[in-house]
């Protein structure tokens, strides 16, 4: 067949209309081949096997109506141009379709072969243009990100040199320094640190944009993170005589979040609040839940600053946005902080927003998912609508030998967690998110649906796999213990949902007791009769 032959897929259920369009197509000057189908499903099937030059599409078909019709064709074959065939009565819909990516529309009663030929030719050309535009945009984004990556790496080298020599001088390692000189050197160091922070933000923002930003959620206390933030920001607040206060609800649940990342968001918001609040103002960090939705924790940072005007509010979380009215314009950073915050919150499945009236201060609020054991347990602890018969709680404990641990402890802990996750049955065992910050040591809990005897096999498997990690033996001591879960005897009669809830409570109680015991006396770790080092029973 001639390469220049226009392949038309005509999706039209009315035989009269279909014949008319076919006739008009064949009347034209250029060679054309028409494949006519009457249902959307047939059209999609045809698109799966062949790529036509253009789709002529009636919107009201036996198996699809209105906007839905072109959406489905577009989603199925985004690169094939579509021309909608509309009746006199659905022109509005056809116009809307053009706004949403359809190349053109023709009114059925008013089609000449010239019309049709031109519409098809333009549709094909427009589609090709759109496509090349998209490709160019992607190339540009890739190029920009590669460039930023390269630049931030190259800038680090001279920055490191400046940093080293300034600190050498400041530390008196190159001879005595006068108080005035020390003061000047501190100013240089401050600028170096600012540059460093900007480079970090630049890389973070690039990562966020390319989907390479990662989070490692754990079961963490937001209360601790807020206190940590406030402790860090207190000197900056004190310097401006700003009161920095905390208000955390008593019933605040733990959250399922990456502590380092959440800390980053909190520091950023509090730092901004202090920056934009005048002397003697106040900044308040709050965290709470609303009764209607206990699965979501709300965190807010409120200040008594000059507030944000409505136009700014809409743009404030965008990349590179800078407040044109900033009082501190020469030191305002790159305008990436809030963009990074938004991306971090989004990765946690949360939202971030700001409410403010000029002159009335601003409140930034973000949400994080509450840590819910029942939600995590539900998919694994039941089988065919019934709770599994036996459960054990396995505790895998890594205690670093040197303190602080040799090498990068955080990475070691993460590597171990990945190994442990590979050692369990995904459909009936659950490796719980790690608890708190991985500071001195790491404890993983596994809720497993088996009896104590079988837990030995699991423990051996975990130990064997963990011991394969190079150098782990040199870094930490490994302890694995298990305990049988004692369920209330009347549990079986309750609805499944309640059984899962109760099971979660039992697990939570055991974990709490186990963590407290660990804190109070490590030596008594195994003396409690509930916990035992599981022995494999291979008979």
């Amino acid at each position: 067949m001639d390469d220049r032959t226009t392949q038309v897929l005509l999706i039209e259920d009315n035989p009269g209309d279909a014949d008319l369009v076919r006739l008009r197509l064949l009347e034209g000057k250029s060679p054309v081949n028409v494949n006519c189908v009457h249902r959307l499903s047939e059209g999609l099937a045809s698109l799966s096997s062949d790529t036509p030059t253009v789709v002529l599409l009636d919107l009201n078909l036996p198996d699809s109506h209105g906007a839905e019709t072109f959406r489905r064709v577009r989603d199925h074959s985004p690169n094939v141009p579509i021309v909608v065939l509309s009746g006199l009565d659905d022109q509005v819909l056809a116009e809307r379709a053009v706004h949403q990516g359809v190349q053109d529309y023709l009114v059925k009663g008013d089609i000449s072969s010239k019309h049709l030929e031109r519409a098809i030719r333009y549709a094909v050309e427009r589609q090709a243009l759109t496509l090349s535009l998209q490709i160019a945009q992607k190339q540009q984004l890739d190029f920009k990100n590669q460039f930023l990556d390269h630049v931030s790496h190259e800038l680090r080298t001279p920055l490191t040199c400046i940093h080293q020599y300034v600190t050498l001088l400041l530390d008196g390692l190159a001879g005595p320094v006068s108080p005035d000189q020390t003061d000047h050197l501190r100013t240089i160091l401050k600028s170096v640190n600012q540059l460093h922070a900007m480079l970090r933000d630049l890389l973070e923002a690039t990562r966020a944009e390319t989907g390479k930003m990662r989070i490692e959620p754990r079961c963490v206390s937001l209360n601790d993170l807020i206190h940590q933030t406030v402790a860090m920001m207190l000197p900056a607040a004190d310097a401006k005589k700003i009161g920095l206060e905390i208000g955390v609800a008593v019933n605040l649940p733990l959250v399922h979040a990456d502590p380092d990342r959440v800390l980053e968001v909190l520091i950023n918001l509090v730092d901004n609040a202090i920056k934009f609040t005048p002397m003697n103002g106040a900044v308040m960090v709050q965290a709470s839940v609303v009764e209607a939705d206990m699965g979501t924790v709300y965190v807010s940072v409120a200040d008594t600053g000059r507030g944000i005007n409505p136009e700014t509010k809409a743009l404030i979380f965008e990349r590179l946005y800078q407040d044109p009215d900033s009082v501190d314009n020469n030191r305002s950073g790159l305008g990436l902080g809030l963009f990074i915050c938004r991306e971090i919150v989004r990765l946690h499945g949360g939202r971030i927003s700001v409410s403010s009236d000029p002159g009335q201060g601003s409140t930034f609020t973000f949400t994080l998912p509450a840590y819910s054991l029942p939600k995590l347990l539900a998919p694994v602890c039941a089988y065919e609508g019934r709770l599994r018969p036996n459960f054990i709680l396995l505790r895998v404990e890594l205690t670093p030998i040197s303190s602080p641990p040799r090498g990068s402890w955080k990475d070691t802990a993460q590597q171990c967690l990945d190994v442990v996750r590979r050692c369990v049955y995904l459909d009936k065992d659950l490796v719980l998110p790690p608890m708190g910050n991985s500071g001195a040591g790491e404890t993983f809990f596994i809720a497993a649906a088996c009896d104590l005897e079988k837990s030995g096999i699991m423990a051996t498997r975990i130990r064997e796999q963990l011991e394969r990690i190079p150098d782990l033996k040199a870094k930490c001591i490994l302890t694995i213990v298990a305990a049988q879960v004692e369920l209330p005897s009347n549990l079986a009669s309750a609805p499944l949902e309640e059984q899962v809830q109760q099971l979660s409570e039992v697990f939570t109680g055991m974990i709490k007791a186990s963590m407290e015991r660990k804190q109070s006396a490590t030596s008594q770790r195994l003396s409690n009769s509930n916990w035992a080092e599981p022995r494999p029973n291979r008979n």
């Binding site: 080293q164 090498g407 990068s408």
Partner: protein, 136 residues
């Protein structure tokens, strides 16, 4: 290692200015310092000088940091010498790789001096890791 002898540190970086600054700081912290500015010399120097610890950049001429790590791991007398990587590269794509290749720690430039000195000290503290109890 006796307490009388200063531990010897091999600093490998292709930026001579940075090498000079690190040498000053390490000497002030009571270490003996030897240096190299490319991958090939780094391995040769390690074999000759037998340092107690190596500070290694990743972007190096004549065999980059990963090549050096690999070479060191395959030389019996050097495999156990702790290597601290100090690089401007992105930790997200290089830290795990460096640790897997045998590095003891990864610091991104510019690194905090106190943290770096602490890491050096920790990795030099003798005996500890290997005498530890590991339940069988």
């Amino acid at each position: 290692m006796t307490t009388m002898q200063k531990p010897k540190i091999l600093v490998v970086d292709d930026d001579p200015d940075l090498v000079r600054a690190l040498r000053l700081r390490l000497r002030a912290n009571n270490y003996e310092v030897t240096t190299a500015t490319d991958g090939y010399t780094a391995v040769a120097s390690a074999q000759k000088e037998h340092p107690a610890l190596i500070i290694l950049d990743l972007g190096l001429p004549v065999g980059d940091g990963f090549v050096v790590l690999d070479r060191l791991q395959n030389i019996d007398s050097l495999a156990s010498v702790p290597v601290i990587v100090l690089s401007a590269r992105d930790p997200q794509s290089n830290e795990q790789r460096a640790l897997k290749a045998g590095a003891a720690a990864f610091f991104q430039k510019p690194a905090d001096n106190d943290e770096l000195m602490h890491a050096i000290q920790m990795n030099l503290s003798p005996g500890q890791p290997h005498t530890a109890h590991w339940p069988s």
